[in-house]
């Protein structure tokens, strides 16, 4: 009698287990058959396209000489923060030789400048979104430029020599926009005058450069 009860219990347990197994199997089949799928893969090509003074354009504008374009041919770019006599520097590179479509992007980009006149003030780099040329830009022309309100990066030119700063986000956005209009360098902390070498500097090692790693 006891053995009979045990067998009966076992049978009931097996039937319950079987029912739940069937349920799981049904749900799985339903999940698979209800999907409609289109899948694809996009492979990226990686490369570098470093820029030197050969593709650079730079200048500085002077509040004290608002119509001067002399900064376009100077060997150094001055940045000064004194009220009434501020100097803003501009640097850009022509990326057209890289052959990048607007669907490409920057994986990494760094700007290197060489401090030739030091100070302990902070220099901030603001992205420039509109066209300019060193041969025509002066202080009075600043109002016609579209310049980002937030600095991309900063550095303190406290020691003469090279300074490298990240500018990846700006270059990435510029590739997608089609043109890189570069940066405005502005003293945002004091009244000192500092300077970095321009693309006309006699020492090639003091000229600005841009290291670019891209994908397309």
């Amino acid at each position: 009698m006891r053995r009979r009860h045990t067998l009966l219990r076992l049978t009931v347990a097996i039937v319950v287990f079987m029912s739940s197994s069937v349920g799981v199997g049904y749900a799985a089949s339903l999940g698979l058959s209800s999907k409609k799928l289109h899948a694809w893969s996009q492979t990226l090509t990686k490369g570098t396209c470093n820029q030197t003074a050969a593709t650079a354009d730079d200048t500085y504008v002077q509040q004290a000489n608002p119509t001067s374009t002399a900064g376009g041919t100077d060997t150094n770019l001055t940045v000064g923060g004194a009220a009434g006599s501020q100097d803003y520097a501009f640097i850009r590179f022509d990326l057209s030789g890289c052959g990048l479509p607007t669907t490409a992007g920057a994986d990494s980009a760094t700007l290197t400048v060489t401090v030739t006149t030091k100070s302990n003030d902070t220099i901030s780099l603001f992205p420039v979104y509109s066209s300019w040329s060193s041969s025509t830009l002066n202080w009075n022309g600043l109002g016609g430029l579209t310049i980002g309100a937030t600095a991309t990066t900063t550095f303190v030119p406290s020691t003469p020599g090279q300074v490298t700063v990240p500018v990846t986000a700006d270059v990435d956005a510029a590739i997608k926009a089609g043109t890189l209009w570069g940066w405005e360098l502005r003293d945002t902390s004091g009244t000192a005058v500092s300077a970095v070498g321009s693309s006309e500097n006699n020492a090639s090692g003091k000229r600005p450069s841009l290291a670019l790693g891209y994908e397309k």
Binding site: T11, I14, F17, A28
Partner: protein, 128 residues
Amino acid sequence: MKRLTRIFGIALTAALVSVGVASAASLGLTSGRLDAGSATVNGCTSSSLTATRNVDNSGNVTQLNVLSVPQACAGEVLTATLENSSNASLGSSAVIVGTCTGGCTVSMTGFGTVSATNVTAYALSITE
């Protein structure tokens, strides 16, 4: 007693068979690669769409933009995976395609901290 033994035997056999079916179904789900291949089953598009991505100043991916997604895909789930050179996933995100006029640009975020330098491919899929 003999009858009960026979019933027990039948139940045990049926249970074993159903366990086999359930296991196979589970295996099919967990081992299948839904992102591989290019099978299309009445999908909203059969085209391989183009994606671009944005980065922050440290070079980390902040957003993936899938361009020209057909309007017919509205309401469907777009999944994107950032892959490295070994086809391993570096980050993944999914979003429901919204409605728009003409082709939509679908922007996706939430990939985690992924350096764009390490991303060599985008694996994308649309399911409904």
